[in-house]
Structure formats: C-alpha cells, structure tokens
Symmetry: C2
Subunit: 141 residues, 2 copies
DNA sequence: GTGACTGCAAATAATTTGCATTACA
DNA sequence: TGTAATGCAAATTATTTGCAGTCAC
C-alpha cells in the first residue's frame, strides 16, 4: 500500500475528507527527504494546488500529526519540522549535512529507562529519541 | 559549588558580565522545577529585577545555552522550554502531570545506535533523548 | 574609563481565528 | 444536500533588531 493510500484510509476512518489541498500537502510530505516546516510545505504544495492557503497547511498538519501520520522533528537548535512517519513507533535519524531524515525502528532502551527511573524516581511511560549524524552519501563525499 | 557560582564562573571564563538581569534569570532557572519558556522566565525574573526587558531574557537564554548551562527541552506537542543543565551530557525526564524536569545521566544507547546505523546507513554522531512519565509524587497521588 | 549590556519600541516572523463561500462524501 | 473544509485577512503571539543610554569590571 502506498503512503498516500495509507493516509487516505486513515483520514476516512476518522471521518476526515480528502480534499485537493490535503492531497497536495500529503504528496509533498511523501516526497520530502528532509523535515519540512509549515512554510516549506506551503511553498511546495502550492505548485500542485495554486489556491492553497497557509492556514490550511497548518490545519492539515495538525490533523496528520493527531493521526500519527506525520511526526514532529526537533532540529538541533530551533525546533520544528514535520516528516512522514511510516510506523506507529519509529524514530528519526537526521543528517546534519543535508538534513535528510530516515526513520528507524527497534529502539530497545529499556536499560537506559531503568537506570533513569532509578536515578529520578520517575515512572517512565514514553520516550523521545532522535539521532544526528551523517547519511552515507554525505559521509562519502 | 552552587549552581549560581558555577554559572558565574562559566560566564567569567568566557568574558561575559554577570549583570543584575542575568543574575535574576539564572536564579529563576535554578529554582525552576519545570522547563520555562522565555515568557515564563521574564515574568518570574521581573519580581527580582523590575526593570528587566524581555529582549534581555532572550539574549541571556541564548548565551546560557551556548555555554551549555541550560538545555532546550522539547515538550510533547509544542517545543520549547529551558531547564538548567547540571552536567555536560545529561538528558531530561519530564513529568507529564506536573511538568517537573529532572536530569539524569548515563545513557548507554550504543546498541540502539548500532542498530539504527545498520538500518539507515548513517554515521551517528549525536543523540537526543527525553523521557516522559510521572514523577514519584504525582504517581503516588 | 570603556566596551559590553541594557530597555524600549519598532520590525519581523510565526501561528491562530472568524467568517462568508465552496466542495467533498 | 449538508456539513466539513477552505481562503483570505485580521488578530495574536513569539522573536529579533537598532539605538541611545547605563553599568560591571
């Protein structure tokens, strides 16, 4: 199933309509190789949907995030950026050179969580992990 | 050595002056039990330093972050918040109920990093980890 | 004494909202 | 067809900057 089909299905399941505008936003995020700000998305999606409004981009991103179809990416200094999320629980690796984002799965950090729980007295429920480095392409050049 | 002394020392080392305003900002962050936005800091620090300007808060936070004396905390939905960082490499555990932030150390995620590197082809250099859960006080009530 | 630091106000950027109109299901 | 979704413009919020005056070292 393609990304678009998946998103369309999820939208329908939650009674959201698949409008031209949302379609354009989803296409942009699907093709994106790096996290995109709302403004980035707007600019790109406008090519496909010239009468798109920036407010709609914000509203659409909000819905997609709510449905976990995209994930917020916090970049080094300033936050913000959105990237398509393929799996229900994945994390992102971000290239510090070209900004490319790749999702990876399988984060067994149970030992770290146990250690943190011991130190802080917290009962950990969620975690948030992002790796920064260089993608292979950038590394080789 | 107290937090303040530590910060003062670091500022001096880098030829920054310890002004009344900076002192107030540092005090606020030292006493803070949860991450604070620039606006939060401004409001609190004004009690101690009535003629403080918001722009100064932004400028001070920028310096403190540059010196790794505070750390940016990305909250669940919206980003942003700053918290004092005691160690050069620590992570934060955040209580989802009361927002309290506690730093912990010792994050051996080398296995996760190796696995991610294998999956993505990335050469990982840095990581960013935050745990969310409930602090013991909130858990017991 | 003097250069770094400040407050203020204005500029800029980012995000949200109200509302009349449009278009998906 | 009915209602959710839209564009636009205005409102709000967040952040940055220029500059004349001030203060820590």
């Amino acid at each position: 199933m393609s990304d678009l089909e998946n998103v369309a299905q999820q939208l329908a399941r939650h009674k959201f309509k698949l409008t031209r505008q949302r379609h354009a936003v989803i296409d942009v995020l699907t093709d994106a190789r790096s996290p995109m700000t709302p403004a980035n998305v707007f600019e790109s999606a406008q090519r496909q949907c010239p009468d798109l409004g920036l407010a709609t981009v914000y509203r659409t991103l909000e819905i997609l995030e709510e449905l976990s179809l995209i994930r917020r990416v916090h970049l080094d200094e300033h936050c913000e950026g959105f990237a398509l999320s393929a799996t229900s629980h994945g994390h992102h690796a971000i290239c510090m050179q070209c900004n490319r984002v790749v999702e990876f799965t399988g984060c067994d950090i149970s030992q770290v969580m146990a250690s943190a729980a011991r130190q802080t007295g917290f009962h950990i429920e969620e975690h948030w992990l992002e790796l920064m480095g260089m993608c292979n392409d950038c590394y080789q050049s």
